[in-house]
Protein backbone atom coordinates (compact mmCIF):
# COMPACT_ATOMS: atom_id res chain seq x y z
CA UNK A 1 0.00 0.00 0.00
CA UNK A 2 1.48 3.30 -1.00
CA UNK A 3 1.58 6.22 1.37
CA UNK A 4 -0.82 8.13 -0.80
CA UNK A 5 -3.36 5.35 -0.64
CA UNK A 6 -3.00 5.12 3.11
CA UNK A 7 -3.62 8.85 3.34
CA UNK A 8 -6.67 8.67 1.12
CA UNK A 9 -8.06 5.85 3.18
CA UNK A 10 -7.46 7.83 6.33
CA UNK A 11 -9.24 10.84 4.91
CA UNK A 12 -12.08 8.64 3.81
CA UNK A 13 -12.49 7.10 7.23
CA UNK A 14 -12.26 10.45 8.92
CA UNK A 15 -14.73 12.26 6.69
CA UNK A 16 -17.23 9.46 6.85
CA UNK A 17 -17.01 9.49 10.61
CA UNK A 18 -17.58 13.23 10.51
CA UNK A 19 -20.78 12.73 8.56
CA UNK A 20 -21.89 10.37 11.28
CA UNK A 21 -21.10 13.05 13.82
CA UNK A 22 -23.19 15.53 11.84
CA UNK A 23 -26.12 13.16 11.80
CA UNK A 24 -25.71 12.50 15.49
CA UNK A 25 -25.62 16.21 16.30
CA UNK A 26 -28.71 16.89 14.21
CA UNK A 27 -30.73 14.13 15.80
CA UNK A 28 -29.57 14.84 19.31
CA UNK A 29 -30.89 18.41 19.06
CA UNK A 30 -34.40 16.99 19.15
CA UNK A 31 -33.68 15.16 22.37
CA UNK A 32 -31.92 18.16 23.85
CA UNK A 33 -35.00 20.27 23.19
CA UNK A 34 -37.30 17.70 24.71
CA UNK A 35 -34.99 17.17 27.63
CA UNK A 36 -34.77 20.88 28.37
CA UNK A 37 -38.52 21.28 28.23
CA UNK A 38 -39.15 18.29 30.47
CA UNK A 39 -36.54 19.40 32.96
CA UNK A 40 -37.74 22.98 33.19
CA UNK A 41 -41.42 22.52 32.56
CA UNK A 42 -42.20 19.08 33.87
CA UNK A 43 -42.67 20.14 37.46
CA UNK A 44 -44.93 23.03 36.55
CA UNK A 45 -47.50 20.88 34.83
CA UNK A 46 -50.08 20.52 37.51
CA UNK A 47 -53.79 20.68 37.98
CA UNK A 48 -53.73 24.49 38.19
CA UNK A 49 -52.07 24.73 34.82
CA UNK A 50 -54.93 23.01 33.09
CA UNK A 51 -57.86 24.39 35.00
CA UNK A 52 -57.14 27.90 36.23
CA UNK A 53 -57.32 31.22 34.44
CA UNK A 54 -54.33 33.57 34.51
CA UNK A 55 -54.02 35.57 37.70
CA UNK A 56 -53.16 39.26 37.94
CA UNK A 57 -49.60 40.21 37.23
CA UNK A 58 -47.20 39.20 39.94
CA UNK A 59 -49.55 36.78 41.67
CA UNK A 60 -48.87 33.07 41.49
CA UNK A 61 -51.25 30.18 41.07
CA UNK A 62 -52.59 31.01 37.67
CA UNK A 63 -53.02 28.58 34.82
CA UNK A 64 -53.64 28.35 31.12
CA UNK A 65 -57.10 26.87 30.93
CA UNK A 66 -58.34 29.61 28.61
CA UNK A 67 -55.28 29.32 26.38
CA UNK A 68 -55.75 25.58 25.97
CA UNK A 69 -59.41 25.95 25.10
CA UNK A 70 -58.60 28.94 22.91
CA UNK A 71 -56.04 26.98 20.95
CA UNK A 72 -58.63 24.24 20.56
CA UNK A 73 -61.18 26.64 19.13
CA UNK A 74 -58.68 28.27 16.79
CA UNK A 75 -57.50 24.91 15.48
CA UNK A 76 -61.06 23.68 15.09
CA UNK A 77 -61.89 26.65 12.94
CA UNK A 78 -58.64 26.31 11.02
CA UNK A 79 -59.43 22.69 10.27
CA UNK A 80 -62.96 23.56 9.14
CA UNK A 81 -61.52 26.11 6.74
CA UNK A 82 -58.36 24.39 5.62
CA UNK A 83 -59.40 20.78 5.27
CA UNK A 84 -62.46 21.06 3.01
CA UNK A 85 -60.66 23.44 0.69
CA UNK A 86 -57.55 21.28 0.58
CA UNK A 87 -59.40 17.99 0.34
CA UNK A 88 -62.00 18.94 -2.25
CA UNK A 89 -59.47 20.96 -4.20
CA UNK A 90 -57.21 17.92 -4.30
CA UNK A 91 -60.05 15.79 -5.59
CA UNK A 92 -60.51 18.25 -8.40
CA UNK A 93 -56.81 18.14 -9.23
CA UNK A 94 -56.55 14.38 -9.10
CA UNK A 95 -59.80 13.42 -10.77
CA UNK A 96 -61.26 16.16 -12.86
CA UNK A 97 -58.85 18.81 -13.94
CA UNK A 98 -56.82 19.21 -17.06
CA UNK A 99 -53.06 19.63 -16.96
CA UNK A 100 -53.02 23.41 -17.28
CA UNK A 101 -55.53 24.08 -14.49
CA UNK A 102 -53.76 21.56 -12.32
CA UNK A 103 -50.49 23.35 -12.83
CA UNK A 104 -51.97 26.71 -11.90
CA UNK A 105 -53.67 25.40 -8.77
CA UNK A 106 -50.59 23.50 -7.64
CA UNK A 107 -48.43 26.51 -8.24
CA UNK A 108 -50.77 28.74 -6.24
CA UNK A 109 -50.73 26.20 -3.40
CA UNK A 110 -46.95 26.12 -3.40
CA UNK A 111 -46.80 29.90 -3.32
CA UNK A 112 -49.27 29.97 -0.45
CA UNK A 113 -47.20 27.37 1.36
CA UNK A 114 -44.12 29.52 1.12
CA UNK A 115 -45.73 32.68 2.46
CA UNK A 116 -44.11 33.58 5.81
CA UNK A 117 -46.61 33.18 8.61
CA UNK A 118 -46.31 36.83 9.67
CA UNK A 119 -47.43 37.87 6.19
CA UNK A 120 -50.44 35.56 6.50
CA UNK A 121 -51.19 37.47 9.69
CA UNK A 122 -51.10 40.77 7.83
CA UNK A 123 -53.46 39.30 5.22
CA UNK A 124 -55.94 38.09 7.84
CA UNK A 125 -55.78 41.47 9.58
CA UNK A 126 -56.55 43.32 6.35
CA UNK A 127 -59.27 40.89 5.33
CA UNK A 128 -61.07 40.25 8.59
CA UNK A 129 -59.93 42.33 11.55
CA UNK A 130 -59.99 45.70 9.80
CA UNK A 131 -63.47 45.38 8.23
CA UNK A 132 -64.93 43.75 11.35
CA UNK A 133 -63.38 46.39 13.54
CA UNK A 134 -62.04 44.07 16.23
CA UNK A 135 -59.83 41.10 16.92
CA UNK A 136 -61.47 37.71 17.01
CA UNK A 137 -61.17 33.96 17.08
CA UNK A 138 -62.59 34.03 13.59
CA UNK A 139 -59.67 36.05 12.25
CA UNK A 140 -57.14 33.86 14.01
CA UNK A 141 -58.78 30.67 12.83
CA UNK A 142 -58.91 32.02 9.30
CA UNK A 143 -55.20 32.82 9.29
CA UNK A 144 -54.35 29.34 10.53
CA UNK A 145 -56.80 27.77 8.10
CA UNK A 146 -55.09 29.46 5.16
CA UNK A 147 -51.84 27.91 6.27
CA UNK A 148 -53.41 24.47 6.39
CA UNK A 149 -54.74 24.60 2.85
CA UNK A 150 -51.56 24.00 0.81
CA UNK A 151 -50.30 21.17 2.99
CA UNK A 152 -53.63 19.36 2.89
CA UNK A 153 -54.07 19.98 -0.82
CA UNK A 154 -50.72 18.73 -2.05
CA UNK A 155 -50.54 15.69 0.19
CA UNK A 156 -54.11 14.62 -0.48
CA UNK A 157 -53.55 14.97 -4.20
CA UNK A 158 -50.46 12.80 -4.01
CA UNK A 159 -52.29 10.09 -2.14
CA UNK A 160 -55.28 10.18 -4.45
CA UNK A 161 -53.02 9.86 -7.46
CA UNK A 162 -51.27 6.92 -5.84
CA UNK A 163 -54.44 4.84 -5.84
CA UNK A 164 -53.90 2.19 -8.53
CA UNK A 165 -55.65 2.71 -11.84
CA UNK A 166 -56.97 -0.82 -11.61
CA UNK A 167 -59.34 0.22 -8.87
CA UNK A 168 -60.77 3.12 -10.80
CA UNK A 169 -61.19 1.05 -13.90
CA UNK A 170 -62.87 -1.74 -11.97
CA UNK A 171 -65.36 0.67 -10.46
CA UNK A 172 -66.16 2.25 -13.79
CA UNK A 173 -66.53 -1.16 -15.38
CA UNK A 174 -69.18 -1.90 -12.80
CA UNK A 175 -71.08 1.17 -13.97
CA UNK A 176 -70.30 3.59 -11.16
CA UNK A 177 -70.30 7.25 -12.09
CA UNK A 178 -67.22 9.31 -11.52
CA UNK A 179 -68.29 10.93 -8.30
CA UNK A 180 -69.45 7.64 -6.89
CA UNK A 181 -66.10 6.11 -7.75
CA UNK A 182 -64.36 8.90 -5.95
CA UNK A 183 -66.57 8.81 -2.91
CA UNK A 184 -66.82 5.10 -2.41
CA UNK A 185 -63.63 3.70 -3.85
CA UNK A 186 -60.80 6.14 -4.32
CA UNK A 187 -61.06 8.24 -1.19
CA UNK A 188 -61.50 5.26 1.12
CA UNK A 189 -58.51 3.65 -0.54
CA UNK A 190 -56.39 6.71 0.13
CA UNK A 191 -57.93 7.60 3.46
CA UNK A 192 -54.86 6.77 5.52
CA UNK A 193 -52.71 9.12 3.54
CA UNK A 194 -55.36 11.82 3.62
CA UNK A 195 -55.74 11.50 7.37
CA UNK A 196 -51.99 11.75 7.71
CA UNK A 197 -51.98 14.89 5.59
CA UNK A 198 -54.66 16.49 7.75
CA UNK A 199 -52.90 15.57 10.96
CA UNK A 200 -49.59 16.93 9.72
CA UNK A 201 -51.20 20.17 8.60
CA UNK A 202 -52.91 20.41 11.97
CA UNK A 203 -49.67 19.89 13.84
CA UNK A 204 -47.98 22.50 11.70
CA UNK A 205 -50.41 25.27 12.55
CA UNK A 206 -50.92 24.21 16.17
CA UNK A 207 -47.65 25.85 17.09
CA UNK A 208 -47.99 29.00 15.03
CA UNK A 209 -47.84 32.26 16.92
CA UNK A 210 -47.03 35.00 14.42
CA UNK A 211 -50.34 34.95 12.54
CA UNK A 212 -52.22 35.21 15.83
CA UNK A 213 -50.45 38.38 16.95
CA UNK A 214 -52.69 40.66 14.97
CA UNK A 215 -55.75 38.51 14.65
CA UNK A 216 -56.57 36.82 17.92
CA UNK A 217 -54.74 39.37 20.10
CA UNK A 218 -55.03 37.66 23.46
CA UNK A 219 -57.48 37.31 26.30
CA UNK A 220 -57.01 36.95 30.05
CA UNK A 221 -60.45 35.34 30.32
CA UNK A 222 -62.64 32.86 28.52
CA UNK A 223 -63.54 33.90 25.04
CA UNK A 224 -67.22 33.22 24.23
CA UNK A 225 -68.23 32.39 20.68
CA UNK A 226 -66.07 33.38 17.74
CA UNK A 227 -66.18 37.13 17.80
CA UNK A 228 -63.85 37.99 20.62
CA UNK A 229 -60.10 38.02 21.12
CA UNK A 230 -58.85 34.67 22.30
CA UNK A 231 -55.79 33.36 24.08
CA UNK A 232 -53.71 30.51 22.70
CA UNK A 233 -50.92 28.29 24.00
CA UNK A 234 -48.18 29.52 21.64
CA UNK A 235 -49.04 33.13 22.44
CA UNK A 236 -48.80 32.41 26.17
CA UNK A 237 -45.41 30.80 25.67
CA UNK A 238 -44.25 33.93 23.91
CA UNK A 239 -45.69 36.42 26.40
CA UNK A 240 -44.59 34.56 29.51
CA UNK A 241 -41.14 33.55 28.28
CA UNK A 242 -39.91 37.11 27.81
CA UNK A 243 -41.42 38.33 31.08
CA UNK A 244 -39.41 38.72 34.25
CA UNK A 245 -41.77 36.84 36.58
CA UNK A 246 -40.43 33.49 37.77
CA UNK A 247 -43.91 32.04 38.01
CA UNK A 248 -44.72 33.10 34.45
CA UNK A 249 -41.47 31.70 33.13
CA UNK A 250 -42.16 28.36 34.76
CA UNK A 251 -45.58 28.36 33.15
CA UNK A 252 -43.96 29.18 29.81
CA UNK A 253 -41.78 26.07 30.06
CA UNK A 254 -44.80 23.98 31.00
CA UNK A 255 -46.84 25.38 28.13
CA UNK A 256 -43.94 24.78 25.77
CA UNK A 257 -43.74 21.19 26.91
CA UNK A 258 -47.47 20.63 26.50
CA UNK A 259 -47.47 22.27 23.08
CA UNK A 260 -44.45 20.39 21.79
CA UNK A 261 -45.72 17.16 23.29
CA UNK A 262 -49.02 17.56 21.49
CA UNK A 263 -47.34 18.35 18.17
CA UNK A 264 -44.91 15.45 18.41
CA UNK A 265 -47.65 13.01 19.37
CA UNK A 266 -49.72 14.07 16.36
CA UNK A 267 -46.71 13.73 14.07
CA UNK A 268 -45.87 10.29 15.36
CA UNK A 269 -49.50 9.24 15.10
CA UNK A 270 -49.69 10.49 11.54
CA UNK A 271 -46.65 8.58 10.49
CA UNK A 272 -47.83 5.47 12.28
CA UNK A 273 -51.11 5.58 10.38
CA UNK A 274 -49.25 5.93 7.14
CA UNK A 275 -46.71 3.24 7.77
CA UNK A 276 -49.46 0.69 8.29
CA UNK A 277 -49.61 0.88 4.55
CA UNK A 278 -52.05 2.16 2.03
CA UNK A 279 -55.11 -0.01 2.45
CA UNK A 280 -54.81 -1.42 -1.04
CA UNK A 281 -52.68 -4.44 -1.69
CA UNK A 282 -50.32 -3.97 -4.56
CA UNK A 283 -51.13 -6.35 -7.35
Amino acid sequence: MTNRLRWRKLVSGFMLTMTGVCAFVAVSVLFLILGYLVYNGGTSINWNFFTKLPTPVGETGGGMANAIVGSGKLLLLATLIGVPVGFLGAIYLAEFSGAKTAFVVRYAADVLNGVPSIVVGIFAYALIVAPMGHFSTLAGGFALGIMMIPITLRSTEDFLLAVPKALREAAMALGASKWKTIATVIVPAAYRGILTAILLAFARVAGETAPLLFTALGNRYWSPGWNHPVESLPHMVFTYAISPYEDWRRQAWAAGLVLLGLILVINILARAILSRGIAVPRS
Binding site: T55, V57, G58, L76, H134, Y191, L217, G218, I242, P244
Partner: protein, 342 residues
Protein backbone atom coordinates in the same frame (compact mmCIF):
# COMPACT_ATOMS: atom_id res chain seq x y z
CA UNK B 1 -64.57 10.03 7.53
CA UNK B 2 -68.20 10.67 8.38
CA UNK B 3 -67.53 10.10 12.03
CA UNK B 4 -64.75 12.65 12.05
CA UNK B 5 -66.87 15.21 10.23
CA UNK B 6 -69.69 14.61 12.65
CA UNK B 7 -67.35 15.03 15.59
CA UNK B 8 -66.02 18.29 14.21
CA UNK B 9 -69.47 19.72 13.68
CA UNK B 10 -70.52 18.69 17.17
CA UNK B 11 -67.45 20.29 18.65
CA UNK B 12 -68.13 23.45 16.69
CA UNK B 13 -71.67 23.63 17.95
CA UNK B 14 -70.50 23.03 21.48
CA UNK B 15 -67.89 25.72 21.28
CA UNK B 16 -70.36 28.22 19.94
CA UNK B 17 -72.97 27.50 22.57
CA UNK B 18 -71.08 26.57 25.67
CA UNK B 19 -69.18 29.78 26.13
CA UNK B 20 -71.80 32.33 25.23
CA UNK B 21 -72.08 33.42 28.81
CA UNK B 22 -74.03 36.40 29.93
CA UNK B 23 -70.90 38.33 30.86
CA UNK B 24 -70.12 41.44 28.90
CA UNK B 25 -66.65 41.28 27.41
CA UNK B 26 -64.84 44.59 27.03
CA UNK B 27 -61.46 44.76 25.35
CA UNK B 28 -58.71 47.22 26.05
CA UNK B 29 -55.06 47.39 25.13
CA UNK B 30 -52.11 49.60 25.81
CA UNK B 31 -49.46 50.52 28.31
CA UNK B 32 -47.44 47.95 30.18
CA UNK B 33 -46.46 50.63 32.72
CA UNK B 34 -49.70 50.23 34.70
CA UNK B 35 -50.37 46.63 33.72
CA UNK B 36 -49.84 45.24 37.23
CA UNK B 37 -52.41 47.55 38.78
CA UNK B 38 -54.83 47.28 35.85
CA UNK B 39 -54.77 43.50 35.89
CA UNK B 40 -55.45 43.61 39.62
CA UNK B 41 -58.23 46.15 39.12
CA UNK B 42 -59.99 44.25 36.34
CA UNK B 43 -59.82 41.07 38.39
CA UNK B 44 -61.19 42.73 41.53
CA UNK B 45 -63.84 44.62 39.58
CA UNK B 46 -65.01 41.40 37.97
CA UNK B 47 -65.27 39.77 41.39
CA UNK B 48 -67.30 42.69 42.72
CA UNK B 49 -69.45 43.23 39.63
CA UNK B 50 -69.62 39.80 38.02
CA UNK B 51 -71.18 40.83 34.77
CA UNK B 52 -68.34 42.72 33.13
CA UNK B 53 -65.08 41.11 32.07
CA UNK B 54 -62.46 43.57 31.00
CA UNK B 55 -59.75 41.94 28.94
CA UNK B 56 -56.65 44.12 28.91
CA UNK B 57 -53.64 43.30 26.77
CA UNK B 58 -50.34 44.83 27.73
CA UNK B 59 -49.00 45.65 24.29
CA UNK B 60 -47.44 49.05 24.87
CA UNK B 61 -48.84 52.59 24.79
CA UNK B 62 -48.14 52.94 21.08
CA UNK B 63 -50.30 49.95 20.26
CA UNK B 64 -52.94 51.18 22.70
CA UNK B 65 -53.21 54.51 20.92
CA UNK B 66 -53.35 52.90 17.51
CA UNK B 67 -55.92 50.31 18.41
CA UNK B 68 -58.30 52.66 20.15
CA UNK B 69 -57.96 54.98 17.14
CA UNK B 70 -58.69 52.08 14.77
CA UNK B 71 -61.58 51.09 16.98
CA UNK B 72 -60.37 47.52 17.30
CA UNK B 73 -60.50 47.78 21.09
CA UNK B 74 -63.05 49.49 23.32
CA UNK B 75 -60.51 51.58 25.21
CA UNK B 76 -56.81 52.25 25.18
CA UNK B 77 -54.19 53.04 27.78
CA UNK B 78 -51.05 55.10 27.56
CA UNK B 79 -48.51 56.82 29.77
CA UNK B 80 -47.63 59.19 27.04
CA UNK B 81 -50.69 61.34 26.38
CA UNK B 82 -51.85 61.45 22.80
CA UNK B 83 -50.42 64.46 21.03
CA UNK B 84 -52.54 66.94 19.09
CA UNK B 85 -51.92 65.15 15.80
CA UNK B 86 -53.03 61.84 17.18
CA UNK B 87 -56.13 63.38 18.76
CA UNK B 88 -57.00 65.06 15.50
CA UNK B 89 -56.56 61.74 13.67
CA UNK B 90 -58.96 60.14 16.13
CA UNK B 91 -61.57 62.87 15.84
CA UNK B 92 -61.31 62.89 12.06
CA UNK B 93 -61.87 59.18 11.94
CA UNK B 94 -64.70 58.85 14.41
CA UNK B 95 -66.43 62.22 14.46
CA UNK B 96 -66.13 62.49 18.22
CA UNK B 97 -63.22 62.97 20.55
CA UNK B 98 -61.09 60.82 22.82
CA UNK B 99 -60.82 61.47 26.54
CA UNK B 100 -57.83 61.00 28.81
CA UNK B 101 -58.58 59.71 32.30
CA UNK B 102 -55.62 59.55 34.68
CA UNK B 103 -55.76 56.41 36.79
CA UNK B 104 -52.69 56.29 39.02
CA UNK B 105 -49.28 57.81 39.40
CA UNK B 106 -46.19 55.82 38.69
CA UNK B 107 -42.47 56.22 38.32
CA UNK B 108 -39.97 55.18 35.68
CA UNK B 109 -36.90 53.99 37.49
CA UNK B 110 -33.38 53.25 36.26
CA UNK B 111 -32.98 49.52 36.84
CA UNK B 112 -29.66 47.82 36.46
CA UNK B 113 -27.78 44.62 36.89
CA UNK B 114 -24.25 45.43 38.01
CA UNK B 115 -22.45 42.47 39.47
CA UNK B 116 -20.76 43.43 42.69
CA UNK B 117 -22.57 46.72 43.18
CA UNK B 118 -24.89 45.90 46.03
CA UNK B 119 -25.78 49.39 47.20
CA UNK B 120 -28.42 51.44 45.41
CA UNK B 121 -26.72 53.61 42.83
CA UNK B 122 -27.22 57.34 42.42
CA UNK B 123 -27.68 58.75 38.96
CA UNK B 124 -27.34 62.36 37.92
CA UNK B 125 -29.34 63.60 34.95
CA UNK B 126 -26.06 64.04 33.06
CA UNK B 127 -25.11 60.44 33.75
CA UNK B 128 -28.45 59.11 32.55
CA UNK B 129 -28.40 61.19 29.41
CA UNK B 130 -24.83 60.21 28.71
CA UNK B 131 -25.51 56.51 29.19
CA UNK B 132 -28.55 56.45 26.96
CA UNK B 133 -26.85 58.60 24.34
CA UNK B 134 -24.08 56.04 24.22
CA UNK B 135 -21.43 58.50 25.30
CA UNK B 136 -20.83 56.97 28.71
CA UNK B 137 -19.85 53.39 27.99
CA UNK B 138 -18.34 51.96 31.14
CA UNK B 139 -19.81 51.51 34.57
CA UNK B 140 -16.81 53.06 36.29
CA UNK B 141 -17.00 56.25 34.24
CA UNK B 142 -16.43 59.29 36.47
CA UNK B 143 -19.85 60.67 35.61
CA UNK B 144 -21.38 57.68 37.41
CA UNK B 145 -18.66 57.09 39.97
CA UNK B 146 -18.75 60.72 41.05
CA UNK B 147 -22.23 60.30 42.49
CA UNK B 148 -21.48 56.92 44.01
CA UNK B 149 -18.47 57.37 46.23
CA UNK B 150 -17.42 54.22 47.95
CA UNK B 151 -19.23 51.88 45.59
CA UNK B 152 -17.14 49.41 43.67
CA UNK B 153 -18.17 49.95 40.06
CA UNK B 154 -16.64 47.47 37.60
CA UNK B 155 -14.84 48.58 34.46
CA UNK B 156 -17.36 46.70 32.31
CA UNK B 157 -19.21 47.91 29.24
CA UNK B 158 -22.68 49.20 29.96
CA UNK B 159 -25.44 47.29 28.19
CA UNK B 160 -28.30 49.71 27.58
CA UNK B 161 -31.76 48.20 27.40
CA UNK B 162 -34.73 50.09 26.05
CA UNK B 163 -38.18 49.33 24.71
CA UNK B 164 -38.50 47.82 21.27
CA UNK B 165 -42.21 48.58 21.09
CA UNK B 166 -44.01 51.92 21.14
CA UNK B 167 -44.01 52.74 24.81
CA UNK B 168 -45.42 55.33 27.16
CA UNK B 169 -42.63 54.49 29.57
CA UNK B 170 -40.26 55.49 26.80
CA UNK B 171 -42.26 58.68 26.46
CA UNK B 172 -41.89 59.45 30.15
CA UNK B 173 -38.17 58.62 30.11
CA UNK B 174 -37.40 60.64 27.00
CA UNK B 175 -39.62 63.47 28.17
CA UNK B 176 -37.43 63.69 31.28
CA UNK B 177 -34.17 63.40 29.34
CA UNK B 178 -35.30 66.10 26.92
CA UNK B 179 -35.89 68.39 29.87
CA UNK B 180 -32.51 67.80 31.50
CA UNK B 181 -30.27 67.40 28.47
CA UNK B 182 -30.22 69.76 25.50
CA UNK B 183 -28.14 67.29 23.57
CA UNK B 184 -30.77 64.60 24.05
CA UNK B 185 -33.53 67.02 23.12
CA UNK B 186 -31.85 68.02 19.88
CA UNK B 187 -30.40 64.69 18.92
CA UNK B 188 -33.14 62.26 19.85
CA UNK B 189 -36.23 63.96 21.21
CA UNK B 190 -39.17 62.48 23.05
CA UNK B 191 -41.83 60.06 21.94
CA UNK B 192 -43.18 56.57 22.31
CA UNK B 193 -40.98 55.21 19.53
CA UNK B 194 -37.67 56.91 19.01
CA UNK B 195 -34.38 56.30 17.26
CA UNK B 196 -32.29 54.95 20.09
CA UNK B 197 -28.59 55.76 19.73
CA UNK B 198 -27.59 52.58 21.50
CA UNK B 199 -28.90 49.50 23.25
CA UNK B 200 -30.99 46.32 23.13
CA UNK B 201 -34.74 46.28 22.68
CA UNK B 202 -37.10 44.46 25.00
CA UNK B 203 -40.80 44.02 24.36
CA UNK B 204 -42.92 45.65 27.01
CA UNK B 205 -41.85 46.54 30.52
CA UNK B 206 -41.93 42.81 31.08
CA UNK B 207 -39.40 42.23 28.32
CA UNK B 208 -37.07 44.96 29.53
CA UNK B 209 -37.12 43.71 33.11
CA UNK B 210 -36.57 40.19 31.83
CA UNK B 211 -33.57 41.30 29.79
CA UNK B 212 -32.02 43.22 32.65
CA UNK B 213 -32.43 40.27 34.95
CA UNK B 214 -30.67 38.06 32.44
CA UNK B 215 -27.94 40.43 31.29
CA UNK B 216 -25.08 41.47 33.54
CA UNK B 217 -23.89 45.11 33.32
CA UNK B 218 -27.21 46.22 31.91
CA UNK B 219 -29.29 49.30 32.63
CA UNK B 220 -32.80 50.12 31.53
CA UNK B 221 -35.95 51.95 32.55
CA UNK B 222 -39.17 50.36 33.74
CA UNK B 223 -42.08 51.21 35.95
CA UNK B 224 -41.23 50.94 39.63
CA UNK B 225 -43.34 47.88 40.40
CA UNK B 226 -41.58 45.77 37.76
CA UNK B 227 -38.24 46.36 39.43
CA UNK B 228 -39.69 45.82 42.89
CA UNK B 229 -41.68 42.67 42.09
CA UNK B 230 -38.72 41.06 40.40
CA UNK B 231 -36.08 42.09 42.92
CA UNK B 232 -34.12 44.01 40.33
CA UNK B 233 -32.20 46.90 41.94
CA UNK B 234 -33.07 50.42 40.90
CA UNK B 235 -31.28 53.66 41.57
CA UNK B 236 -31.99 57.12 42.90
CA UNK B 237 -32.11 60.08 40.55
CA UNK B 238 -31.03 63.63 41.30
CA UNK B 239 -34.08 65.86 41.07
CA UNK B 240 -34.42 69.49 40.03
CA UNK B 241 -33.76 70.61 43.59
CA UNK B 242 -30.46 68.71 43.69
CA UNK B 243 -31.43 65.84 45.98
CA UNK B 244 -30.98 62.19 45.09
CA UNK B 245 -34.43 60.70 45.41
CA UNK B 246 -35.48 57.10 45.09
CA UNK B 247 -38.93 56.44 43.63
CA UNK B 248 -41.58 55.59 46.18
CA UNK B 249 -45.14 56.59 47.06
CA UNK B 250 -44.12 59.77 48.83
CA UNK B 251 -41.70 61.06 46.22
CA UNK B 252 -44.08 60.31 43.35
CA UNK B 253 -46.97 62.02 45.11
CA UNK B 254 -44.72 64.99 45.77
CA UNK B 255 -44.02 65.25 42.06
CA UNK B 256 -47.73 65.42 41.32
CA UNK B 257 -48.52 67.96 43.99
CA UNK B 258 -47.96 70.99 41.78
CA UNK B 259 -49.83 69.56 38.82
CA UNK B 260 -52.84 68.65 40.94
CA UNK B 261 -53.67 72.27 41.47
CA UNK B 262 -53.28 73.29 37.85
CA UNK B 263 -54.57 70.21 36.03
CA UNK B 264 -55.77 71.12 32.53
CA UNK B 265 -59.26 70.10 31.49
CA UNK B 266 -58.08 67.40 29.17
CA UNK B 267 -55.85 65.94 31.89
CA UNK B 268 -52.79 65.86 29.64
CA UNK B 269 -49.87 67.03 31.72
CA UNK B 270 -46.22 66.18 32.23
CA UNK B 271 -44.78 66.02 35.74
CA UNK B 272 -41.23 64.98 34.96
CA UNK B 273 -38.43 66.95 36.60
CA UNK B 274 -41.00 68.48 38.95
CA UNK B 275 -39.85 71.10 41.45
CA UNK B 276 -39.78 70.20 45.11
CA UNK B 277 -37.09 68.82 47.38
CA UNK B 278 -38.68 65.41 47.80
CA UNK B 279 -40.11 64.99 44.31
CA UNK B 280 -39.01 62.01 42.22
CA UNK B 281 -38.10 63.53 38.87
CA UNK B 282 -39.28 60.74 36.54
CA UNK B 283 -42.84 60.40 37.68
CA UNK B 284 -45.95 60.40 35.56
CA UNK B 285 -49.67 60.02 35.43
CA UNK B 286 -50.95 57.18 33.32
CA UNK B 287 -54.17 57.49 31.38
CA UNK B 288 -57.02 55.37 30.11
CA UNK B 289 -58.07 56.51 26.66
CA UNK B 290 -61.85 56.44 26.52
CA UNK B 291 -63.88 57.35 23.42
CA UNK B 292 -66.16 60.29 24.06
CA UNK B 293 -69.02 58.38 22.53
CA UNK B 294 -69.77 54.71 23.17
CA UNK B 295 -72.76 53.51 21.21
CA UNK B 296 -73.26 50.19 23.00
CA UNK B 297 -75.20 51.11 26.16
CA UNK B 298 -74.08 48.05 28.06
CA UNK B 299 -70.41 48.77 27.39
CA UNK B 300 -70.81 52.45 28.07
CA UNK B 301 -72.38 51.88 31.46
CA UNK B 302 -69.83 49.23 32.36
CA UNK B 303 -66.91 51.48 31.43
CA UNK B 304 -68.30 54.47 33.27
CA UNK B 305 -69.04 52.31 36.26
CA UNK B 306 -65.53 50.90 36.20
CA UNK B 307 -63.99 54.35 35.99
CA UNK B 308 -66.03 55.46 38.99
CA UNK B 309 -64.88 52.36 40.85
CA UNK B 310 -61.27 52.99 39.90
CA UNK B 311 -61.45 56.51 41.33
CA UNK B 312 -62.83 55.18 44.63
CA UNK B 313 -62.19 51.54 45.63
CA UNK B 314 -59.60 51.07 42.94
CA UNK B 315 -57.30 53.68 44.44
CA UNK B 316 -56.98 51.50 47.55
CA UNK B 317 -55.14 48.81 45.61
CA UNK B 318 -52.62 51.20 44.13
CA UNK B 319 -50.23 51.60 47.01
CA UNK B 320 -49.77 47.88 47.59
CA UNK B 321 -48.38 47.76 44.06
CA UNK B 322 -46.24 50.86 44.57
CA UNK B 323 -48.37 53.18 42.47
CA UNK B 324 -49.30 56.47 44.11
CA UNK B 325 -52.92 57.44 44.49
CA UNK B 326 -54.30 60.29 42.44
CA UNK B 327 -54.42 63.63 44.23
CA UNK B 328 -57.87 64.48 45.58
CA UNK B 329 -58.30 67.44 43.25
CA UNK B 330 -57.69 65.25 40.22
CA UNK B 331 -60.18 62.64 41.42
CA UNK B 332 -62.85 65.28 41.86
CA UNK B 333 -62.19 66.75 38.46
CA UNK B 334 -62.34 63.34 36.80
CA UNK B 335 -65.58 62.40 38.52
CA UNK B 336 -67.09 65.46 36.90
CA UNK B 337 -65.57 64.61 33.53
CA UNK B 338 -67.20 61.16 33.58
CA UNK B 339 -70.40 62.82 32.56
CA UNK B 340 -68.96 63.73 29.18
CA UNK B 341 -68.83 60.10 28.04
CA UNK B 342 -71.94 59.69 25.95
Amino acid sequence: MKKIAGLLVAALALATVAWSQGALLINGAGASFPYPIYSKWFDEYRKAHGNAEINYQSVGSGAGIKQVTDGTVDFGASDGPMNDEQIKAYTDKHGYGILHFPTVLGAAVPTYNVPGASAALNFTPEALAGIFLGKITKWNDPAIAGANKGVNLPANDIVVVHRSDGSGTTYIWTDYLSKVSDEWKNKVGKGTSINWPVGLGGKGSEGVTGLIKQTPNSIGYVELIYAAQNSVPYGAVKNAAGTFVKADLASVSAAAAGAAKSMPDDFRVSITNAPGKTAYPISSFTWLLIPAKISDAGKRNAIKDFLKWSLADGQNYAEALSYAKLPKEVVAKEAKALGSIQ
